[in-house]
């Protein structure tokens, strides 16, 4: 299969199908509506099911049902709608059900606007809903990577029995790039789901899926089990891209589409003889703490750039633990930082100015 020119939102949909996800429950919201429409058209062609729910709340609970029945299933939304799904995501985490939830983020808080944003970082990486839980979060920076990470997301979901978030932004959802779907895809056939409630068919005792533990000791045990799982995910599933960090005096930490803009700014700086490297977290949770911590020992300063008022920068600072100064540059409200703006921030680092 050769290259095709596709829109980000469509790529997410097609990538999910390639990853063996034939069930999608969704609700339209800009800027991810093309994904819902794509699934509505495409899933019946491959023998799958698309259903438009009456709300995001309902969609995530349909996902809960389909996941209970042991199927690979996805839903998607954008920031305000994603907030509505938080209740269901907490239940999925509690009941240990696998599912992939897409957030093509837009400006907030409240209704905000439909322009791209990274201001849902806290929400997706810190649990988001009630209770002690994390969801693995994967943040692609280009459309080809969406394919890889969508497949990864389903694999992680099934392997660890956990909801997984695929986080993009309006820019990623709306842009077009050539992508190539490889023959080899992760279809999930190798995951035994003997816990699924599908009807017993006379095979063993009835199964129960629940997140309720009246007994405090048992609930603590469940929490211990979840935490142990999260440690395992941290050990095995941390993903990061590192560029030109070895000899760098300065490092930019940025993720998603912003990392691409930062990369252009870095190239410009390198042409001017400033040694700047890039660390791009691909998994936002688990966060690539180690590489950032290690790098911070050898550089003069770290700059974090986000389309937010400063969210991931908190994790960067936690990883750095004061080993080097960490500054932040962010734009909000759907404004995308420009290459020049980031370049100017790099120059400030050289002058020892930190914002």
């Amino acid at each position: 299969m050769g290259k095709v020119l596709m829109k980000g939102n469509e790529v997410i949909g097609e990538a999910a199908i390639h990853a063996g996800c034939y069930y999608f429950f969704g609700y339209p919201i800009t800027p991810q509506s093309e994904l819902v429409a794509y699934m509505a058209k495409r899933l019946p062609e491959v023998g799958g099911l698309f259903l438009q729910s009456e709300s995001e709340v309902s969609a995530i609970n349909m996902v809960y049902g389909a996941a209970s029945a042991g199927k690979r299933v996805m839903t998607s939304s954008s920031s305000p709608g994603f907030s509505l799904k938080q209740e269901g995501i907490s239940y999925l985490a509690g009941a240990e059900l696998p599912a992939v939830i897409v957030n093509v983020a837009r400006g907030g808080p409240g209704l905000g606007n439909i322009q791209p944003s990274q201001s849902d970082y806290f929400q997706v990486t810190k649990g988001g809903g009630h209770g002690d839980y994390h969801t693995p979060v994967l943040a692609p920076a280009n459309l080809q990577e969406i394919i890889e990470l969508t497949s990864d997301a389903f694999r992680i979901a099934d392997q660890y029995r956990t909801p997984v978030i695929l986080l993009g932004d309006g820019m990623l959802g709306q842009m077009m790039e050539p992508v190539e779907f490889n023959e080899k895809t992760e279809t999930g056939d190798n995951f035994m789901k003997d816990w699924a409630t599908t009807g017993t068919e006379g095979d063993g005792l009835p199964k129960v899926i629940t997140s309720l533990d009246l007994n405090d000791v048992k609930l603590e045990q469940r929490n211990h089990r979840l935490q142990a799982k999260y440690r395992k995910i941290e050990n095995n599933e941390t993903k990061v891209e590192v560029k030109n960090v070895e000899e760098a005096d300065y490092v930019i930490v940025a993720y998603g589409t912003v990392a691409r803009i930062a990369h252009s700014a870095i190239e410009k700086a390198r042409q001017d003889g400033i040694k700047v490297g890039l660390i791009r977290p691909i998994s936002l949770w688990p966060f690539p703490k180690k590489i950032i911590s290690d790098t911070s020992k050898n550089v003069k300063a770290i700059l974090t750039v986000e389309m937010s008022a400063g969210q991931m920068v908190e994790d960067v600072r936690l990883a750095v633990e004061g080993k080097s100064p960490v500054s932040f540059y962010g734009r909000t409200g759907g404004i995308i930082p420009t290459v020049d703006e980031i370049y100017r921030e790099i120059l400030k680092l050289g002058k020892g100015v930190t914002s």
Partner: protein, 223 residues
């Protein structure tokens, strides 16, 4: 108290459970049952003292196993069963206010078959009963919902372990006496915590019978 049916009621934070535990642990005999009928609040209930009760020969009647801690208004069938045992001593710890008292309604006919004590615990430091008028209104509501009559008032002015002066206790008694007079219901006793009693016994001019009790319901940070 002659009766072997004692129902403990009151407003939230009155000290119902403290009294019910104290009373149950005082009793002697083999058939003592403390029924935890608090279906309103999932915290600070008699059921949390199951072990101490059992060691002292008191049977706790409450949902079993994991259900004990459920956010479910479970009333076990055992309550009716024990109420039908004539020789058993049954102490019922009811949830707060008239909402908690509703649960008694279903047992009113069987309770009424025998003599019973229906005690209202009053903590004057709780705003909802801080005046005679307010207290009477709470008692009336509890009587209406439980379909039973309050037979006695137990005065228990406290601040959850913080110091209370003998003046406050005296004032509390005065209000309770007023209520007692207006309703024609006796003021049975004044409860006072052991440690507090030691501190203020000299200045305490209690007119009523005193119940000196050891406080059991404590916050986890208490040492």
């Amino acid at each position: 108290m002659e009766s072997n049916r004692i129902i403990v009621t009151g407003h939230y934070g009155s000290g119902k459970t403290e009294y019910a535990l104290h009373e149950a642990l005082q009793k002697e005999g083999s058939q003592i049952y403390l029924c935890d009928l608090d279906v309103i609040n999932p915290y600070f209930r008699s059921r949390d003292y199951k072990e101490e009760l059992e060691v002292n020969g008191v049977n706790l009647v409450a949902p079993k196993g994991d259900l004990m801690k459920a956010d479910l208004p479970i009333v076990t069938g055992e309550v009716a069963m024990r109420l039908n045992e004539k020789d058993a001593t049954v102490i019922i710890d009811v949830g707060g206010d008239e909402d908690g008292a509703t649960v008694l309604g279903q047992f009113a006919p069987v309770i009424e078959e025998m003599p019973y004590e229906f005690l209202f615990i009053a903590n004057m430091n709780r705003p909802s009963v801080a005046t005679a008028e307010k207290m009477i209104s709470v008692i009336r509501a509890i009587e209406l919902n439980s379909r039973l009559h309050v037979t006695g008032i137990i005065h228990n002015t406290h601040l959850c372990g913080e110091a209370v002066t003998s003046e406050e206790i005296h004032h509390g008694e005065t209000v309770c006496q007023e209520v007692s007079k207006k309703l024609g219901v006796p003021l049975v006793a004044t409860m006072i915590e052991e440690e507090l009693y030691k501190e203020i016994s000299e200045s305490l001019i209690a007119k009523e019978q005193l119940i000196i009790f050891k406080r059991r319901l404590r916050s986890p940070w208490y040492v």
